[in-house]
């Protein structure tokens, strides 16, 4: 394919940016900084994707990662000691194992990159990747797409169940009880005390 030299230059610069900021994630003391270094890394990758003509995916990457890293930063700050890194600390654990794992993954990926035979079919010039993506979503992959919707709905419900403190029937830790069907009656929809049939005991 024919492309100007400047694309190569930008690719190299962005690749360096992605790797360096990815590395900085592990050497900064502040959780918030770590999250946003990761964001920078993802943005660099996103720009590379745009350079590779995957315009929608690249821009979507900015979008998704900005939101996701923001949420990650929030949760980091909520649950980690010393979230701002006022005292220095080590961000990495299990050094030997992680070095070995990192090296192994690098070798495997590098091998894939070098040894695999990539298809060399040039794309048609008038291809509109966004359009083909849309047609795919409405065509062959419709079922996958819709089931993804259902899966995400389950995720949402799971999230709400796990994290919401304020249930429909009162605070979660008080063992929220639905109100009775008659005033002062037993909670509605609760299983009987001696009923052991609930859920996971049934294996088959």
């Amino acid at each position: 394919m024919d492309y100007p030299l400047i694309v190569d230059v930008f690719f190299v610069l962005l690749a360096i940016l992605a790797v360096v900021s990815g590395w900085r994630v592990f050497c900064t003391d502040s959780m918030v900084r770590a999250s946003f270094f990761l964001l920078v890394s993802f943005i660099a990758v996103g720009v590379i994707m745009i350079l590779l003509a995957a315009e929608y995916l690249g821009v979507a990457m900015f979008f998704m990662m900005a939101v996701e890293m923001m949420v990650m930063a929030i949760f980091m700050v909520m649950f980690m000691m010393n979230p701002a890194g006022l005292n220095p600390m080590m961000m990495v654990h299990q050094h030997k194992f992680s070095i070995a794992a990192g090296a192994a993954v690098f070798v495997v990926l590098a091998a894939v990159a070098l040894l695999a035979e990539f298809p060399d079919t040039p794309l048609p010039g008038d291809l509109d990747p966004v359009k083909s993506l849309g047609n795919e979503l409405l065509g062959d992959s419709m079922l996958i797409f819709e089931s993804a919707g259902i899966v995400l709905l389950t995720t949402m419900i799971g999230v709400v169940v796990l994290s919401s403190h304020r249930g429909r029937y009162g605070a979660a830790e008080e063992g929220s009880m639905p109100p009775g069907l008659v005033p002062g009656g037993d909670p509605a929809g609760m299983p009987e005390e001696n009923d052991e049939g609930g859920g996971h005991h049934h294996c088959h």
């Binding site: 900084r33 315009e55 821009v59 939101v67 923001m70 949420v71 701002a84 006022l86």
Partner: protein
């Protein structure tokens, strides 16, 4: 080619951004004066004198700020405003950057703005700024879905994610009439992005200035400038998504575009002066329970309308 594709767009964006930010300040002063607030100096010089004063004031520091993030946040916010304006078409040919997915890019500007505004409050390491930052995240994460729905709504008839195509699709009828819910919802997004007026949860009065409470001097100037610039960028997006961008009789396209941007700005600034600040918790509930379902309706409306 270099001139028309590189230098001209860059100059155009810089010029509109700076001039627009100045006009935002002038317009806001004028609206305040018209609503009966005491103003001594002329509205035309007030932003300049205020800016000059901020340049002479010492830049404040806090005890242990996250220096780099603190200084970068206003500059990055300004850069995001520039990106936002860069995807806005001024005429069929005068488009600073005509990306195929410019509508999605605009969405990511919104998402990244949340990050930058959070950083501005977080880096100061002071209580009031920190509360402002976290509050803003609640708002930022709430309006983003509304914006997505509304923008997908305008992309439907255009069959494209490109702002220039969106404008072109409004040749017959502007989206503001075709999708009546779209513009009001999008204006809410605009107020949220710039935390202006009723949605000023980040830099509010009950936090003594919130994320800006600990900054002074030049960094504060850049922050104010960036906020105004973001309003300009937003008005560009709103004008091209709903008001038919460059379309209009008699006048040349770019002039129409600028006029429409001014109109959007005037509406936003007026809302900012007339509506009280929404309580944060209520704001999140409103966004999810009222405005988000409304944006569903808008999308369905847009979909049905596009097929008819």
């Amino acid at each position: 080619m270099i001139v028309s594709e590189l230098i001209l767009p860059v100059l155009l964006v810089t010029f509109v951004l700076v001039l627009g930010a100045y006009l935002v300040a002038v317009l806001d002063e004028a609206i305040a004066g018209a609503l009966g607030m005491p103003r001594a100096t002329s509205v035309w010089t007030a932003p300049l004198t205020q800016g000059a004063w901020l340049l002479t004031q010492q830049a404040n520091a806090t005890e242990a700020p996250d220096w780099r993030a603190w200084r970068l946040a206003p500059a990055l916010y300004l850069a995001l405003a520039a990106i936002g304006l860069a995807v806005v078409p001024f005429s069929p040919t005068l488009i600073p950057t005509d990306l195929v997915t410019s509508v999605v890019l605009w969405g990511s500007v919104e998402a990244l703005a949340t990050v930058v505004i959070f950083l501005h409050g977080w880096s100061a390491n002071t209580l009031l700024a920190l509360i402002g930052a976290y509050r803003y995240v609640a708002l930022g994460l709430s309006y983003i879905l509304i914006s997505m729905f509304v923008l997908i709504g305008v992309a439907l008839p255009a069959e494209s994610l490109q702002f220039s195509q969106v404008v072109a699709s409004q040749e017959g009828l502007w989206n503001v009439i075709r999708q009546p819910l779209g513009l009001p919802l999008f204006l809410i997004v605009g107020l949220g992005m710039t935390f202006w007026g009723p949605l000023n949860l980040a830099d509010s009065r009950d936090l003594a200035g919130g994320t800006a409470s600990a900054v002074s001097g030049p960094p504060r100037l850049v922050w104010n400038l960036a906020r105004a610039a973001m309003l300009v960028a937003f008005s560009g997006a709103a004008a091209s998504a709903f008001l038919g961008g460059w379309l209009g009789p008699w006048l040349p396209g770019p002039v129409w575009m600028l006029l429409k941007m001014l109109a959007v700005l005037a509406v936003l600034l007026l809302i900012g002066r007339l509506v009280p600040r929404v309580q944060p918790e209520r704001c999140v509930t409103l966004m999810w329970v009222v405005f988000l379902p409304l944006s569903f309706v808008d999308l369905i409306w847009a979909g049905v309308e596009a097929l008819l």
